[in-house]
């Protein structure tokens, strides 16, 4: 799960923006999608009729004008520019423009994983996956160089170091769970992993203790797989936290943060906290070191990121101005303005995360599956869509794998699994009462003494969404107690702390980390993944059959079979009504009239600086 672009600043002028959260949780409405290999779903398969130019799926990536400076506005600041630390969507925009992970997604695909630093995608057929899915061999490009001051050729040892430092507590990469099957990774402290070997300078081999090749290969698209020169970063990693990425950094991608060429120090030059970031061309980057279909054209000469300001002011600056885009989520008023007056300058990226209502599966009335089904049936998802900004920015969610992810189509697509509590997105009280009766309440209304504790976020459209859910519950006879708190507090003090036993959290959401459905379903619904704090299985879902199905799915080596296995898990989750899906998110993005902006379908529609150009 990644951190979503939030819409914090728009709130200051009373304008609601769209935005979800991150790394697994979301809470407004944004978008994302990263995927890992071989998907059959497509994010364009949504029901929203988009005007010409709105849907970025068909965007043209090559043959555009070279040169120029792009101004990027963002009311939000970056959090971590070290690829070993970053998990925030905005960080990704810089990470992927300046670094080369082993694999990348082309902007116009949510699921087609292609070699970036690597020379080929490992498969069983090409010998990249062997030993029954327990060994992965990756070859890297031989002539990729680090930016100054390192300026030497990247080797496989740099990739190994990049991964291993993720375990260093001073780096603390939040994605290490995806590498847990690599021998030595789970117990690493920043030193070498027994499960990584580098037989030569262009080969890295991963030895796994489980047949989880597909999961690991998907994770090899994360920023943490970008090579890091040990001689340069290790001294900085001794600081707590590391100063690599906050003071100095080197790049392997087409761009680099403007920095002192002798020291690599960018702080105060290429990045000023809360003020600006400047990307310039990496002099050591060589376009010929891409040998797959993934070839970033790097049209722009320079990218100036202006940080801060109000979203309702930034929006008009972008729409009426030139050479600029907005990186974070536009304010609702701006989306409306753009849609009505500048339709060619706004895009809506589908597959940008989802929201749902977490229900406590372990305690209280929602421990009963039929009560959960009843609550689901009563929920008016259509009303939620309106609160999220309408059909352009959201669609009714009908299951938990959202558009753009592998397994979405296999688990029912837009309609989702056809079970009685899922068919009417407007809410159906008659169906709900039927399940209340099945739960042991003959009148169809709740007659127990429990008071349902609801905790929601107090920003943006969240209070209205909480109210919609509250109405559904009261219509079923429940007594409720609603608490609205800051979104971060909601996660860290209430919904993410199992012992609080919060009955329902109606404003949680999720963005995948890569296209593998595991990144959407595992942390959120796998029982053994429940932890005492910072828990993302908010509903404390711990169903033995579902747990077993997840383990089987993650250990499935064949991609097609794995996708189907995860789709089946998704159907089980719906059948057990472990949570109530609310909406699949579309992310709005705006650009100036003379910008040929390219959105990353795999990254919630975030602007891709390597493919964006000026007209």
């Amino acid at each position: 799960m990644r951190k979503y672009r939030a819409a914090i600043v728009g709130a200051i002028v009373g304008v609601l923006a769209l935005g979800v959260t991150a790394c697994g949780s979301s809470s407004s409405s944004s978008s994302t999608s990263k995927s890992g290999g071989g998907s059959t779903s497509t994010p364009s398969a949504q029901s929203v009729p988009l005007k010409s130019g709105e849907n970025p799926v068909g965007q043209s990536l090559y043959g555009n004008k070279k040169g120029g400076t792009l101004t990027v506005y963002s009311s939000e600041d970056f959090e971590h520019l070290d690829p070993g630390e970053s998990y925030f969507e905005l960080d990704y925009a810089v990470d992927y423009a300046t670094q080369r992970p082993l694999f990348s997604y082309p902007p116009n695909s949510a699921s087609q994983l292609l070699p970036d630093l690597a020379t080929a995608l490992p498969t069983t057929a090409n010998g990249g996956i062997t030993n029954g899915g327990k060994t992965i061999t990756v070859h890297i490009q031989p002539n990729v160089k680090f930016s100054p001051p390192v300026s030497r050729v990247v080797t496989s040892k740099d990739v190994a170091f990049a991964l291993e430092r993720g375990d260093n507590p001073n780096v603390a990469n939040p994605y290490m769970t995806y590498f847990a099957s690599v021998i030595g990774a789970a117990t690493g402290k920043g030193g070498p992993w027994a499960g990584i070997s580098t037989p030569n300078n262009t080969t890295i081999v991963f030895h796994l203790n489980k047949p989880q090749a597909q999961v690991v290969i998907g994770a090899l698209s994360l920023p943490i797989t970008s090579p890091v020169p040990k001689e340069f970063a290790a001294p900085m990693d001794k600081h707590a936290p590391t100063t690599y990425g906050s003071t100095a950094i080197v790049a392997t991608g087409p761009y680099m943060l403007e920095s002192n060429p002798k020291t690599g120090v960018f702080a105060g030059l290429g990045y000023q906290t809360g003020k600006s970031a400047t990307l310039v061309r990496n002099p050591n980057w060589d376009a010929s070191t891409y040998t797959s279909a993934y070839k970033p054209p790097a049209y722009l000469d320079r990218i100036n990121v202006e940080i801060g300001g109000d979203a309702s002011v930034i929006g008009p600056q972008v729409l009426k101005g030139s050479d600029s885009v907005q990186l974070d989520t536009p304010a609702n008023s701006v989306v409306k303005l753009a849609y009505e007056k500048y339709p060619s300058q706004i895009t809506f990226t589908p597959g940008s995360g989802d929201h749902y209502i977490a229900l406590d599966n372990q305690h209280g009335p929602f421990a009963n599956v039929n009560v959960r089904r009843a609550a689901w049936a009563a929920e008016d998802r259509a009303a939620i869509i309106k609160e999220r900004g309408g059909s352009l920015t959201a669609a009714p969610a009908t299951h938990f794998i959202y558009p753009g992810n592998d397994g979405y189509a296999q688990s029912g697509g837009a309609a989702g699994p056809q079970v009685p509590w899922n068919t009417d997105v407007n809410g159906n009280l008659a169906v709900a009462e039927k399940y209340m009766k099945a739960a042991g309440y003959p009148s169809g209304k709740y007659t127990g003494n429990a008071v349902i504790q609801i905790v929601g976020a107090n920003n943006g459209n969240s209070p209205a969404i909480v109210q919609i859910f509250n109405s559904a519950l009261t219509s079923l006879g429940f007594k409720t107690h609603v608490s609205l708190v800051d979104q971060s507090v909601m996660y860290s003090k209430y919904c993410g702390v199992p012992k609080q036993e919060i009955d329902a959290c109606p404003t949680v959401g999720w963005i995948r980390d890569f296209a593998n459905p595991l990144t959407t379903l595992y942390v959120t619904f796998y029982g053994p993944a429940i932890v005492p704090t910072n828990n993302s299985n908010w509903g404390q879902v711990n169903n033995p059959q579902i747990n077993a199905a997840m383990v089987a799915a993650e250990n499935t080596v064949d991609q097609t079979a794995a996708t189907q296995a995860w789709a089946n898990v998704d159907k089980m989750l719906v059948n057990q009504a472990v949570a109530i899906p609310e909406d699949f998110d579309n992310q709005a993005n705006i650009e100036s009239g003379n910008v040929d902006g390219i959105n990353d379908l795999w990254d919630t529609g975030s602007w891709d600086f390597m493919f964006t150009s000026l007209k």
């Binding site: 799960m1 951190k3 914090i8 600043v9 200051i12 002028v13 959260t21 991150a22 790394c23 697994g24 949780s25 506005y73 600041d77 959090e79 998990y87 507590p169 001073n170 603390a172 939040p174 994605y175 290490m176 769970t177 707590a240 936290p241 100063t243 906050s246 906290t273 809360g274 003020k275 202006e306 801060g308 300001g309 109000d310 309702s312 002011v313 930034i314 008009p316 600056q317 009426k320 101005g321 708190v485 800051d486 971060s488 507090v489 996660y491 860290s492 003090k493 993410g496 980390d513 942390v523 932890v531 005492p532 704090t533 910072n534 993302s536």
Partner: protein
Amino acid sequence: MARYIIRRILWGIVLLILVSALTFVIFVVFPTANPAQLRAGRNASPAIIRHITVELGLNHSIFVQFWDYMKGIFFHFNFGYSYYSQQPVLTLIADRLPATLSLTIGAVILWVVAGIPIGIISAIKRGTFLDRTAMGVALTFVSMPVFWLALLLLYFFASDIGKFPLLPGANSYVGLTADPGKWFTSLILPWLVLAATQAAIYSRLLRGNLLEVMGEDYIRTARAKGLSERRVIWHHGVRSAITPVVTVLGLDIGGLLGGAVLTETVFEIHGIGLLNFNAINESDFPIVQGTVLLAAMFIIVMNIVVDVGYAYLDPRVKYS
């Protein structure tokens, strides 16, 4: 006088300690996000969160955390480090202070220059069309939320998005030393926004005070002694009526130096206010604490300055 000033400074320090304690308590007692979790990300393991907790010193008792913080500030002038960027809070504040100073000084000059004459004229011309118009306009500006007025001016006059593109708009601020010309023009709209509301308040305040003072016996005596009306108004009326205005001015300047959050945010001026706003959104406690302390310090200092200034403005005031 010197003893009075020293006493006020000492009380000011005590007040700063209390403000620090209050800010700390607010962050600890009220439900706030765990900074270690925020920094670690949602996927982070409990072990990583524990490590970051230790890194940030959050594993210590509240009292130890508070003592460490106070010790840092008052003994080492160290306001701590940002949870996110790891930069020293003092460096961040120092980096942003010039922008806030620029915004404050210009706005204060503008509203004093506009508000005080309007207040005096309205009082002198009480009940006339001029008075009613001035007070009506003042009331309008007082009623306008700052952010709304800021947006209005941007939509009308900003060179990039305005209907009548006359002046630099949001994100145009440059430092005084970088380009004095651009510095001046980039601040005209923010100055106008801040000054409009404040000038209106000051004019109404001064008008009310002056009307009251002008009805006093000593004013009648001054007139009876044959002093010119101008001298009566300026030397006896305004001098007395302006004392409460100076009090408010001191507080306002102190408050603004602590950051004009709305104006800085809408105009994207990287000052103390915007720094504080972002820090609150990110639960970056050290920055919030630093900026709150800075604001408190400015208000305390300005209060002392105002109190000392009374002695010069009003001969009846004597400090001992």
